[in-house]
């Protein structure tokens, strides 16, 4: 460890002076190639908004390219329909994804089946890509009996254990250190698991961002920390969230390699995430990725973005649409045509419709689920409260049935 000396340069002395005096866990030295902050702020792009190849092709096979496209179209239709259901009062709340499909699908597609994903609000596409059925997703949104979280969470808080897609809270940024902790655990166990931790741009202001970034770098955790910079945290634009030139360069101070990628370019997102995943799996530690994208709708179904932003900005980002971009690329490669498009749209619409119909017919979760899963076992206190709940329900039923009919 460098210690300040009289001969040390002023800047170096100031830096070391901030270090704690007592030696702590010895950090593994950061990877050799931390890119210079400003130069690396350039946006990694593979496809132009017109769908032309302008960067290094990650070389995905045709069926994989089509798979990515189908996933993007599916989540767009799912997203559109769920927002409609919310407007119709059939779902209580919804956090729309529109415009961010490529950032989620490109990154999630770069993970292996045994890898772990810690989502934020707008990563339903990652859950679906990893195997969450439309029925299960909609059951979560409707809080129905088959909901994996038993109707206990607000909409958009999916969980899918088989896919290692982890339940999230609504607290911003807490999942960052969970992702890092899971990655530390994988390293301790000697597994080759890599963890993907999502966050939004607003989360980079949260204390857990700092803690998570620092722990990830100090322990060289096999984690990819992925920021979906959609430029708005509800009504607060990025320039009021951070004075940093980019979000990506924040990683530099933690000693973590980073990249900034066009988040509406699914191939660029895939390529950047893939490289970061491979790096982590090799044992070379964490990477921070900033995907530049845009939240085209409100923060949620409860939000009206016209109150705080110029819709002209939205029009600009509509022209950078991620789904359209990949479609043009596929068409140019001869992998896509109008007939396939129509078939896909019809198939997805039918699947979403059928799932909605099935789930909507389900009952609410059983009343007992109010008190189960607080702990592995019911405590005596919860048993008592459950008995009280059942007695209240019995009394309510008895009250209705026994009431005078007029």
């Amino acid at each position: 460890m460098t210690r300040p000396t009289r001969s040390a340069k002023k800047g170096a002395a100031a830096r070391t002076a901030r270090k704690p005096a007592a030696p702590r866990a010895r950090p593994v030295p950061p990877a050799a190639s931390v890119p210079p902050p400003h130069g690396a702020a350039a946006l990694l792009t593979v496809l132009s908004p017109e769908g032309e190849l302008v960067g290094k092709d990650p070389g995905l096979p045709p069926e994989r390219l089509v798979f990515l496209y189908e996933q993007m179209v599916q989540v767009r239709e799912f997203d559109r329909r769920m927002l409609v259901l919310q407007r119709q009062g059939r779902i209580g709340f919804y956090g729309p994804i529109l415009g961010q499909e490529a950032a989620t699908i490109g990154s999630a597609a770069a993970m292996g089946p045994g890898d772990w994903v810690f989502p934020a609000l707008r990563e339903a596409a990652a859950a679906i890509l990893r195997g969450l059925s439309l029925d299960a997703a909609i059951a979560q949104l409707m809080g129905k009996a088959s909901d994996r979280c038993k109707g206990r969470q607000m909409p958009c808080h999916y969980t899918h254990k088989e896919a290692h897609y982890v339940s999230m809270s609504s607290v911003i940024g807490t999942q960052i250190s969970h992702a890092v902790g899971a990655a530390m655990a994988a390293r301790i166990r000697g597994d080759d698991t890599v963890v993907l931790g999502y966050m939004g741009d607003g989360a980079t202001s949260a204390n857990d961002f700092h803690a998570g970034m620092n722990f990830a770098a100090v322990y060289r955790a096999p984690v990819v920390l992925f920021c979906q910079n959609n430029q708005w945290a509800i009504s607060v634009p990025l320039r009021q969230q951070s004075a940093s030139e980019t979000i990506a360069i924040k990683a530099s101070a933690y000693g973590m390699p980073y990249a900034r990628v066009d988040g509406n370019d699914v191939l660029a997102v895939y390529a950047a995430t893939r490289a970061a995943v491979e790096r982590a799996r090799r044992g070379d530690g964490p990477t921070f990725l900033e995907a530049l994208t845009y939240r085209r709708l409100g923060h949620s179904s409860s939000d009206d973005p016209t109150r705080y932003r110029d819709e002209a900005e939205v029009r600009v980002w509509e022209k950078r649409d991620p789904v359209e971009r990949l479609r043009r690329f596929l068409r140019a490669r001869g992998l896509w045509n109008d007939r396939r498009e129509q078939e896909l749209q019809e198939r997805i619409a039918n699947e979403v419709n059928a799932a909605i119909a099935r789930v909507e017919a389900e009952p609410d979760p059983d009343p007992d689920t109010l008190v189960t899963d607080v702990h592995a076992e019911l405590t005596p206190q919860l048993r008592e409260q459950l008995a009280d709940l059942r007695a209240n329900l019995d009394a309510a039923r008895g009250g209705r049935e026994g009431a005078f009919p007029l």
């Binding site: 969980t159 250190s177 969970h178 655990a185 857990d208």
Partner: protein
């Protein structure tokens, strides 16, 4: 049996479980090379290596946040928060994340971890090395809250906590870390969570206390005995889940109840104990339930001896239940 202090019993329990289960990892500020500021983790890094006992950056929210991730992944993390007074940066991770994980995921994900932290006053620690914050955690569904009052219980309860499938707040009364020596069973020794103990049998009044207050209440019981009053002391050992039958049986027997805790009086855990007794055993009471507690102030430095309940204050509390 080996004679141990409470801190040695904690260390013994950690070693026992780390030998038994390689998923158990211990980490926190200064717990590695130094062995913890109170030496609770002494020798762990030497025996189990730096992957299983390690120092962390100075960030409570990072310690607990990463512990949540480790528990989700399948480890059995035992993060140490150096003093309970420093736990508040991690409060969100405990309350919003660890405590709710099982429930919010419909049982898909769980968070088995033991958050160890020294707590309580009486060591000249001022505001920030003395607090008793147990009530915050008792008020959070999804957490268990365990507080030992003897070396043997410290070992047995810590082992039970480590084997528990859910997050446990294991709060160690640091005032009696080294003041009390007792025979502790060697090797396997489990004290189940949710079972209190009768510290001392009596027939005239029940005093409920936990942590460092148990010893104070034993002194008070001696003073009361000189006045011809037979005091029964109940130590719940786990605040959540609480062994209500043990407490209620005792109060129904004695007809009087004093609740002793060193946290600020208002909304302290003793208030919950008093409410339970009032709700379920009021017809047996010969006098009011009396609380003997800390003051509704930040924890003081010089006057900490006045802040902390002592034997005389507990005795006065006992006397009050007879004056009604």
């Amino acid at each position: 049996m080996t004679v141990m202090t409470l801190i040695q019993a904690v260390n013994d329990a950690l070693k026992h479980e780390m030998r038994r289960d390689d998923r158990v990892v211990v980490f926190g500020e200064d717990v590695g090379v130094k062995g913890g500021v109170f030496l609770a983790t002494e020798g762990l890094q030497a025996e189990f290596g730096k992957d299983r006992c390690f120092d962390t950056p100075l960030s409570e929210c990072g310690i607990i946040g990463t512990a949540v991730g480790m528990a989700l992944y399948g480890l059995r993390p035992i993060p140490e928060i150096q003093f309970l007074d420093f736990i508040y940066p991690a409060f969100d991770q405990i309350v919003s994340e660890a405590a709710k994980m099982r429930y919010r995921s419909g049982g898909e994900y769980t968070c088995p971890m033991v958050i160890r932290s020294p707590y309580g006053g009486g060591i000249k620690g001022g505001h920030y090395h003395s607090q008793s914050a147990e009530a915050y955690f008792c008020h959070t569904p999804g957490l268990k809250v365990v507080i030992p009052s003897t070396p043997a219980d410290a070992k047995g309860l810590l082992i039970a906590s480590i084997r528990d499938e859910d997050p446990v707040m294991f709060l160690e009364p640091k005032r009696i870390y080294r003041t009390l020596k007792q025979e502790v069973p060697e090797g396997e020794h489990v004290v189940p969570i949710g079972k209190g103990r009768i510290v001392r049998e009596g027939k005239d009044a029940t005093v409920i206390a936990y942590g460092a207050m148990v010893g104070i209440c034993e002194q008070a019981a001696e003073l009361a005995a000189k006045e011809g009053r037979s005091v029964e002391i109940v130590d719940p050992r786990t605040l959540v889940p609480l062994d209500e039958p043990l407490i209620l049986d005792s109060v129904r027997k004695t007809g009087r109840c004093v609740v002793v805790y060193e946290a600020p009086r208002t909304c302290g855990y003793g208030a919950e104990l008093a409410a339970i007794v009032a709700e379920k055993a009021i017809e047996y009471l010969e006098g009011p339930i009396v609380r003997v507690a800390g003051f509704d102030t930040p924890f003081p430095y010089t006057l900490d001896n006045l802040y902390m309940p002592d034997a005389r204050r507990v005795l006065r509390g006992i006397q009050k239940t007879f004056q009604w």
